[in-house]
Symmetry: C2
């Protein structure tokens, strides 16, 4: 019969009694306040150590009026994309002394309630992509950073470049001689996708061309399924909303006995690890930096009022991080030196 391992945690009162001082003094000593004698400081630390005392976060947060935690809301974590954003976010948040709470909205029943609940647990939060509507965002009463999502009045927003690079991509594909284009993805579904489609069309317009958009979920299987139909009468180039879709298309093309890029050019977006091995031409984004910047901005927003309550609020920030075309095999035949392995 051993003693129970799950013992009740010691409180500041017990430490105080053991050290023979008041709780106020314990608090000061443990926070290295300069108003404590070295002697008492030592006594308190000793008592705390003996009792394995760790201040309760709840008590502390309640008294301080802050959580020392930030939230991040995203659709899911299936592709590497969001994982990378979260990683950059957590890393930077941790450096700045904030824990991170995550919330995925994908298969959730009441997203709005979940987001509101999260808002009650953090000092600020990042909202990625189209996870919650503008009205909800506007109604949240805490520092916010929008990531890869259309701006909302008065809220900081950070994105990666979609349109311009998509236009570049279009130009590149035109250079291969492709004329019949199809965009595979749903511009309605995500702002990023909308931007890519818009950029593609802008690029094609210069050649007097256009491309229909075939809605498609951002998953590999969806890409394969959509391709099965499209490949009966394949276009010259299939521009996919992201790499997962494009990889699905490659699979379907192989099954259909089509050669990429001879019979059909295919491009993606994100530069997943798999894209490299599939020889997929795609677009690379500084995803990690996206998350890191969000965390940094949030930290700034959270502390700016505290630091100087009289300072007028800084105007909402906007930033667009550059993206980069990655040319591989799948978009058309290139002279060897133009290719990247």
């Amino acid at each position: 019969m051993k003693a129970l391992s799950k013992t009740k945690a010691a409180t500041i009162y017990e430490v105080a009694r053991r050290a023979g001082v008041s709780i106020a003094t314990v608090s000061r000593a443990l926070r290295d306040s300069s108003l404590v004698t070295e002697q008492t400081r030592a006594r308190v630390h000793a008592a705390a150590a003996e009792l394995h005392f760790t201040p309760s976060r709840l008590g502390r947060s309640l008294a301080e009026g802050r959580h020392a935690a930030n939230g991040i809301v995203f659709p899911d974590l299936v592709g590497p994309y969001y994982a990378e954003v979260v990683l950059g976010y957590e890393e930077t948040a941790a450096e700045l002394g904030a824990s991170v709470l995550i919330l995925t909205t994908h298969g959730r029943r009441d997203t709005v309630a979940a987001v509101r609940d999260l808002a009650g647990r953090v000092d600020g939060m990042a909202i990625i992509s189209d996870t919650v509507g503008d009205d909800v965002v506007a109604g949240l009463d805490l520092p916010l950073v929008l990531v890869a999502r259309p701006p909302v009045d008065g809220v900081d927003t950070i994105r990666t470049r979609n349109e311009r690079t998509a236009t570049e991509l279009a130009t590149h594909l035109l250079g291969h001689g492709h004329r019949r284009f199809v965009f595979l993805g749903d511009p309605q579904a995500a702002p990023d996708v909308a931007g890519r489609y818009a950029g593609l069309r802008a690029g094609l317009r210069t050649a007097g061309l256009n491309a229909p958009a075939v809605p498609c979920e951002l998953r590999l299987e969806a890409g394969t399924a959509a391709a099965h139909d499209l490949l009966r009468d394949p276009p010259d180039a299939l521009v996919c909303a992201n790499d997962e879709v494009a990889l699905g298309v490659l699979l379907a093309a192989e099954q259909a006995g089509l050669d990429v890029p001879r019979d059909l050019a295919v491009t993606g977006w994100d530069d997943l690890l798999a894209a490299r091995f599939a020889g997929l031409s795609t677009v690379r984004q500084p995803i990690r930096e996206l998350g890191a910047t969000a965390a940094r901005w949030l930290h700034g927003r959270i502390h700016e009022r505290t630091a100087d309550p009289d300072s007028r609020p800084v105007a909402a920030r906007r930033r667009v991080l550059p993206t980069q075309l990655v040319v591989r095999r799948s978009c058309g035949t290139h002279p060897p030196e133009a290719r990247e392995s």
Copy 2:
């Protein structure tokens, strides 16, 4: 001069005053206690709505003595592996009403302090892989689940099968006629890797063979670098600790002008998306289920004491989830029907 958007949140006291009742009644009404008149219930709800009142999580948690949040500790989120675990974990935790706090230990200075801090913010936590030492685990005074990590006395542990499937893999490779093996990975670095190496050796032993282990980080670049040396005198088969390493090897082999699997067989572990496109033979694990189970167990542990304080603690649980060999091109030439695309 508009009013500040960041207004101070309303408290239960203000709602009480506005509704003309006591805070006790507000609390009851909002939690749908049956001891409140329908009339007052309505009045309170109205007052709460007018003030946009949301109960403070801190106040609530402090009073209830629980966070309604779980933690999860993992090395990083670079590969898809941990992301998938976290995803399964968050999904299930959310269903069970718990928020999720994440903590990555990778580039962190004081891991132990960070883990202890996290412990103070949650009701229970999952610890993945070798992120913290046994002593620290044993010292944590809250419900815990160990994931993909050697058991610690009295703590629940869940893993995926390594040894047995690695032995299967060895047998399969021997069937291809391979005799000279090298294991690429550091058995010291992670318990999963150790298990895979042990299983491989067990399998080779049946043929009177052995395989040296060449330490290597679990990253693609590390695989490429390590392969550059090894490929001067290539073994028959290079068994890699995970897919990222194996993919790095494939890249190196291509650069060296070696054909896989003719000149060299290569295998990985994890079945990343990229593995499929690289034709890499590997092992698939129910990663998501790993995280989901951890969340479920944790929920059970957290609530078992509360539900029935007199119940004797359940013995530490152990579970090993099955894994599955995925045979593709890279391990050797197969008759077509034995292959999986």
